[in-house]
């Protein structure tokens, strides 16, 4: 692995994004508008405050999953991936470059959405800093899952359809709609193996406790661990030789 090549990849991915201002606008505006909608659908700062933090984990994960899976799929379909595989670039240079670039972009997205949520009346007992840490980890998880998912799609059309497949079950079972301990046992098992559950659980810890809890640390480590596993699996899906 080479730091120069990894950084060059991150810069390249961000440059591609910079040439597409419309996507940047959508990625920033959509979660912001959804937060505003959520606030006024319930018309209560209290209810909003109960739901918004968890969504701050769900949004970056979902958006990063979509943009990463589509970008990576384009890389596979356009032949640029095959070309890169004929150069000394290592697979991790490419994947970590992606993770850095989209992670940085996700951080900007999260900062703006968190800012808007606070203005809308979201309150936390814990620190905003720890909330940002776990939302960034959730975004990185989205990037890693997106990189992995692109191996299972042949077209951009299919890549987009993987989003509901990967994200929706996690969304339903992560504790956002019903607390996880009130679900049927089987559903709890399923929820236990879904990484989004731990992102949302860590966020709940920040909202409900003024100091850092061990549950938060454990959950954050699980999310980070899942990210690493997904990245390694994604690396094995990149082949220098194809049939």
């Amino acid at each position: 692995m080479s730091l120069t090549v990894t950084m060059a990849t991150a810069r390249r991915v961000l440059t591609q994004l910079r040439h597409d201002p419309r996507s940047i606008a959508i990625l920033i505006a959509v979660p912001t508008v959804l937060m505003i909608l959520l606030r006024y659908v319930f018309n209560s700062a209290e209810v909003f405050s109960g739901l918004a933090p968890a969504l701050l984990g769900v949004f970056p994960l979902t958006f990063m999953f979509i943009i990463t899976s589509v970008t990576m799929l384009r890389e596979r379909a356009s032949g640029t991936l095959e070309r890169l595989m004929t150069t000394p670039l290592s697979k991790l240079d490419l994947l970590v470059g992606y993770a850095l670039a989209f992670g940085l972009f996700a951080l900007v997205q999260v900062l703006i959405v968190v800012g808007v949520s606070v203005l809308l009346g979201m309150t936390l007992l814990g620190s905003l800093g720890w909330l940002l840490v776990v939302t960034s980890l959730a975004a990185e998880l989205g990037v890693a899952l997106g990189l992995l998912a692109s191996a299972f799609a042949r077209t951009e059309f299919q890549a987009i359809q993987l989003m509901p497949v990967v994200v929706f079950p996690q969304l339903l079972l992560c504790g956002l709609f019903t607390p996880r301990d009130q679900m049927a046992t089987v559903l709890q098992w399923v929820s236990n193996v879904m990484p989004m559950s731990y992102a949302v659980s860590a966020i709940t810890q920040v909202t409900a406790h003024s100091s850092l809890t061990t549950t938060y640390v454990r959950d954050a480590l699980i999310v980070a661990g899942c990210t690493v596993v997904a990245l390694v699996l994604a690396a094995t899906s990149l082949r220098r030789q194809t049939p």
Binding site: S78, G79, R83, T86, T87, P88, P243
Partner: protein
């Protein structure tokens, strides 16, 4: 005859259940331009992908500069440009070249050199996706020229180019060959075959001729490349 730079020995490639290359054995001369010609579907691109090491090989061997194709040591020594321009449409010409230069570990001045070599200096700040087909394929060619490749494998590099640019690129290829670089250039434009030192004619996954353009014309008793190819294909057709 000097040792071959690229050596395929009884190469068999199966793609999608069908055998595309049938026990193909061929060597490519160093420091020369070898033209790879043949109808579409004859296996040209599969052979090229086998040589650059991106193709899964069923059996046989492909050796480039004494190493198995695709070896890590070859990744800086073999320049490759695929048939469809493998570049990022949402980057400018220079951003594209600069990124691949980083991936190849090529020096910074190289970026401007290759952009000039393919005659894109005027276009270097334009988005690649907004360029014409011929310009895009030249961006892809520029990337293949980065660093110091000893072997250049170019799949249809002159498709969609006007005669002036084709002339420009062929004199570039000639100067590269004069500098000792081995070129394998696929094409289906027969008048380009005249510019090669050696021709490799493929048909249905096999090499049916490997000789110089003059030898081919003499042997078939024809005066143009078009006629020579037609003659060769017809004689094969009757033999089969």
């Amino acid at each position: 005859m000097a040792a071959s730079v690229v050596e395929c020995d009884r190469l068999v490639v199966v793609r999608g259940g069908a055998e595309v290359l049938h026990e193909l054995t061929v060597g490519i001369r160093p420091g020369a331009i070898t033209g790879l010609l043949g109808p579409s579907g004859s296996g040209k691109t599969t052979l090229i992908r086998s040589i650059v090491g991106t193709q899964v090989i069923t059996s046989g061997t492909v050796t480039v500069l004494g190493q198995p194709a695709g070896s890590p040591a070859l990744r800086r020594l073999v320049g490759y440009s695929s048939q469809s321009a493998a570049v990022y449409d949402d980057l400018t010409v220079r951003e594209n070249v600069r990124y691949f230069a980083a991936a190849l570990g090529a020096a910074e001045p190289d970026v401007e050199r290759v952009i000039e070599q393919v005659d894109l200096d005027q276009e270097s700040t334009r988005l690649t996706g907004r360029l014409s087909g011929g310009e895009r394929s030249r961006v892809s060619l520029a990337v293949a020229l980065l660093g110091a490749p000893q072997v250049l494998v170019l799949d249809e590099p002159t498709v969609g180019l006007d005669p002036v640019l084709r002339e420009h690129l062929w004199s570039l290829f000639r100067s590269l060959a004069d500098a000792g670089i081995t070129l394998l250039v696929s094409s289906h434009v027969m008048d380009e075959a005249e510019r090669c030192d050696e021709l490799l004619l493929m048909r249905a996954g096999a090499v049916i001729a490997q000789e110089s353009p003059q030898q081919l014309k003499d042997r078939t008793g024809t005066t143009t490349m078009d006629a020579a190819f037609l003659h060769l294909i017809e004689s094969l057709g009757t033999a089969a």
